[in-house]
């Protein structure tokens, strides 16, 4: 018993905090690649996975209790490396562990700026930021434009992550296409009105976020994402594009997302470096470059658009073709 305790005490400990739940495809992609890469470390590691389960539009109370539970787990487990996936975990959990002696933080899937989370000044943080593959999206829009300038509308729910994506989308030079300002809506009835309105003037509709729509203006209940996707694709005159792993699966037409596999694998590589003696402050953060393609050729064709065959091949290879 003492031997086991000593063995555990001396084994490196890594704790992974996921913002969402274990069934969410994005989280699954992060975790799968993280685990696969970490196996190559060569020494036994004690790992613990903690899921904050904050998908959709979590209430203030849900965020508080999830944060308290995660922080308690970290304090109890005392990991040498704390891995945080996505902005929610970074916002709610990491602040009290910044600059904590004996603990390094590795982040991945972060869309916000490093300064927003205090990662730029802390001496124990490194990781990989997530960035929307804007060039790839631009190329896809161009491919569908067939030489003519298109009008691109934008819609999003009221969640913070959606704001980040919308901001990144708007920062791109879409010339010769015309980008409309992004409309933010909180609930599904307002969403429906906005989709119909934008459809009247835009050819393409970029959906920056849709998983946190309330069913009513005053309620807490969140509309299932597939319900939003199916309705929007069926009723929008504009072709829907986005940058979420579940986008096409939820009923939309085209998605090019950053790769959770690259994010998870990089997090594991950084973890291994730190466990081998490197300091987190000596490893500069990087930005992800790899991306996933998901398309539904039928839904794209319904809007009178076509993409070169390579997109279908890429989507089929990724197992995301609908």
């Amino acid at each position: 018993m003492g031997l086991i305790g000593f063995f555990n005490f001396t084994r490196p400990r890594v704790m992974i905090i996921q913002s969402y739940d274990a069934e969410f495809p994005w989280s699954q992609g992060l975790e799968k690649s993280f685990r696969t890469q970490l196996k190559n470390f060569g020494r036994p590691i004690l790992t613990r996975y903690h899921y904050m389960d904050l998908r959709g539009a979590p209430t203030r109370l849900a965020k508080q209790t999830a944060a308290a539970s995660a922080i308690r787990s970290v304090e109890q487990f005392k990991p040498q490396v704390l891995v945080v996936f996505d902005d929610i975990a970074a916002e709610l959990v990491t602040p009290r562990f910044l600059d904590r002696p004996g603990m390094s933080i590795v982040f991945a899937g972060i869309g916000e700026s490093l300064s927003h989370h205090g990662f730029d000044t802390a001496n124990n943080v490194t990781g990989m930021q997530e960035s929307l593959p804007m060039q790839a999206l631009y190329d896809a829009v161009n491919a569908m434009a067939d030489g003519k300038p298109l009008t691109i509308g934008c819609i999003r729910d009221a969640q913070p992550n959606s704001a980040i994506d919308a901001k990144e989308f708007a920062a791109v030079d879409w010339h010769p296409h015309n980008l409309l300002p992004c409309e933010e809506v909180d609930n599904f009835p307002a969403w429906k009105d906005a989709v119909m309105r934008i459809g009247g003037k835009a050819d393409i509709l970029f959906v920056a976020g849709y998983r946190g729509l309330h069913s009513l203006a005053d309620g807490d209940e969140v509309v299932p994402s597939a319900e939003v996707g199916i309705w929007t694709e069926a009723n929008s005159q504009a072709l829907t594009i986005g940058s979420k792993v579940t986008f096409v699966g939820d009923g939309f037409a085209l998605s090019i997302t950053s790769s959770p596999l690259e994010q998870g694998q990089t997090a594991a590589l950084l973890t291994q470096k730190i466990l081998s003696g490197a300091k987190a402050s000596d490893i500069p953060p990087t930005i992800g470059r790899d991306f996933f393609v998901s398309i539904s050729p039928d839904r794209i064709a319904k809007h009178g658009r076509r993409l070169p065959p390579v997109y279908e091949a890429a989507s089929r290879a990724a197992g995301t073709l609908q």
Binding site: R13, L61, A62, K63, Q64, T65, A67, S69, Q76
Partner: protein, 616 residues
């Protein structure tokens, strides 16, 4: 003159006519008949001699056996001799001599032992027969109480079985008419039958969920790995380990010694007597998951305190002691993970990360305010309900002698104490060694087995195996519910409840109180707590409250009872003294009602604490 050889029918008739074997099951008669032998004796021949091995029971056709004692004193004539073989004596205490020629029937000792296992009343009858033989008179038969409850029980059972058989059929019909999803319909129909069995107490508490698991496997409702997921859970090992540890502490006498020691340390006044009962119960709680077992251990001390000549039967002082022993055994039930079986089951229903969080001492840390309020509340209620003039008590010379009589700790007790200390130390230091509590418990279990402190029989006896299967079956039911996404179907109800709650945690408490109170009207404590948690966990998810809080509050409220039939512990306390020496029951029941209010107060008082901990 008797027959030289008895026909088989004659042997059977004689066995069936024997008063020792009155009202036996047919199977028992069959076994007795199977083992019966006949031997021929002439008149005056000795059939069995005193001080020789009692290797069988002798039956004669009529009173043809002349009995005498060791010294040859006449004990009269009898038609049966050899009750010593049933009563467990190694040799005959009497000599039997045949008074006429004839065959005598002999039933070997081994056959009698085989039947004894199924007919335990036989031992008492044999003892009575021996006493009557030596005493020279037969004890008067006790008057048979005409019991009408059998009729009522039959009606209740009939109704219950009818409900258990008909309700699933109705659900299936309703499901097909309203086009419900077939797997969900089948699940609900199985659940209906299960709940009927609980509500009408048709079978023991652990049987209905076992039936549900068997039914789900039979109709292939979910993969086997889902339905039997309980067997793969760490909760099973912790469960078994804690039961064995508690059993070892009782069997080695360690628990008894600790309570005696406590009595010698504390002052010998009426208040401290009650206090020692409370504290003893509290000290037993973390290592004994059964309140009934804790109460059983404390009751002898309760009776000793009650035997104080200054305490009148039925007085406030007497009832105060009853309240103290009840409080000591019950109050801490929800406060430790291992102090109640339902707590272990509730933990197994939470996610893995919540199990990691609450399986150490954190459960108690989170329950601290409740524990404090319940304890202070008991002593306040003591003053309100049982206040009276201080009573003179006997000196504690007797206690000191009793403690010294036990002598130093024996090796077995040292081992048990070490096992307990390791368990507690392991629970307190999980953040250092990172070994989960179930595996610490498993290690302790193996150590106790290897040391030999737990034999195969002990392993069967110490562990409440029906409760283990109850745990495993309930886990199977909840896993199947997750697999079928049953809870998603109840979303409108859950949303309505979440809307009522509206992030106000005190409303969660009230919703729980209502649900648990209704469920407990029909179900016993463990099933009631667990079913309440199953119903209320989706509310935790919908409102963002930590699911543990919902489970803990259900455990707190399920211990509340208003009608005596709802509490097996109260029945146990009542049975601890004869009816003529009962404490003041109406006063106790009023006290109990007040403790329900204290329980509610304890939960409300914990709200700010839980908010501080980030649990609600």
């Amino acid at each position: 003159m008797q027959e030289k050889v008895l026909p088989s029918a004659g042997i059977l008739d004689r066995i069936r006519a024997e008063p020792l074997f009155a009202s036996f099951a047919l199977q028992s008669f069959s076994k007795l008949f199977d083992g019966a032998q006949t031997h021929y004796f002439n008149a005056g021949e000795t059939i069995a001699k005193a001080a020789t091995p009692a290797d069988g029971l002798w039956l004669s056709l009529g009173e043809h056996l002349a009995l005498s004692d060791y010294q040859g004193g006449d004990l009269g004539l009898a038609s049966v001799m050899g009750e010593e073989a049933i009563a467990g004596h190694a040799s005959y205490m009497r000599t039997a001599v045949a008074t006429s020629d004839g065959a005598q029937i002999r039933i070997p000792r081994q056959t009698l032992q085989d039947v004894l296992a199924e007919e335990p009343a036989l031992t008492k009858r044999a003892h009575n027969a021996l006493l009557g033989s030596f005493g020279g008179s037969v004890a008067p038969a006790t008057a048979k109480i005409i019991d009408n409850t059998n009729q009522k029980a039959f009606q209740k059972h009939f109704l219950g079985w009818a409900a258990a058989l008909i309700s699933p059929i109705l659900v299936l019909l309703m499901g097909s008419v309203m086009s419900w999803d077939l797997p969900n319909t089948i699940f609900i129909s199985i659940l209906c039958a299960t709940v009927c069995m609980w509500v009408f107490s048709l079978v023991d508490e652990f049987v209905p969920p076992l039936f549900a698991v068997a039914a789900m496997l039979l109709v292939d409702l979910a993969p086997t790995s889902v339905v039997l997921s309980g067997f793969a859970s760490s909760g099973l090992i912790l469960f078994v380990a804690v039961y064995v540890l508690g059993g070892v502490m009782v069997a080695t006498g360690l628990s008894y010694r600790l309570i005696v020691l406590l009595r010698t340390i504390l002052p010998d006044t009426a208040f401290w007597h009650g206090f020692s009962l409370v504290i003893s119960g509290y000290a037993l709680s973390p290592s004994m998951p059964s309140a009934n077992a804790r109460l059983a251990l404390l009751l002898p001390f309760y009776r000793v305190y009650c035997s104080n000549p200054n305490i009148k039967v039925g007085s406030r002082a007497h009832t105060r002691l009853a309240a103290a022993v009840f409080c000591g055994s019950m109050n801490m039930s929800p406060m430790f993970l291992t102090s109640k079986s339902a707590n272990l089951i509730i933990l197994a229903m939470l996610s893995t990360q919540l199990q990691d969080e609450f399986q150490g001492m954190f459960w108690f840390v989170a329950a601290l305010v409740c524990a404090a309020v319940m304890t202070v509340g008991h002593f306040v209620l003591e003053q309100i309900f049982f206040a009276g003039p201080p009573l003179p008590v006997a000196g504690n010379e007797k206690l000191r002698l009793q403690a010294s009589l036990l002598g130093p700790l024996r090796t077995d007790e040292w081992f048990a104490l070490s096992a307990l200390a390791l368990f507690i130390f392991g629970a307190l230091t999980t953040s250092w060694h990172h070994v989960a509590l179930p595996w610490i418990g498993g290690f302790i279990l193996v150590a106790l087995l290897l040391y030999g402190l737990v034999s195969k029989k002990n392993f069967q006896q110490y562990v409440d195996w029906p409760m283990v299967f109850f745990l495993l079956s309930l886990q199977g039911i909840t896993s199947t519910m997750d697999y079928l996404h049953i809870v998603d179907q109840l979303k409108p109800l859950v949303r309505a409840a979440a809307a009522i709650v509206n992030e106000e945690f005190w409303r969660v408490v009230l919703v729980e109180l209502v649900v648990v109170s209704i469920v407990r009207l029909a179900l016993p404590i463990t099933a009631g707590a667990v079913v309440s948690v199953i119903l209320l966990l989706p509310l935790a998810e919908a409102t963002g409250v930590n699911p543990w809080v919902v489970g803990f509050i259900a455990a707190m409220f399920s211990d509340m009872w208003f009608m005596p039939y709802q509490s097996s512990n109260y029945a146990q306390l009542r049975g601890a003294q004869p009816k003529a020496e009962m404490f003041d029951e109406p006063l106790f029941l009023r006290y109990n009602l007040a403790t329900c209010a204290v329980r509610l107060l304890a939960v409300f008082a914990s709200i700010p604490y839980w908010q501080y901990l980030g649990l609600a």
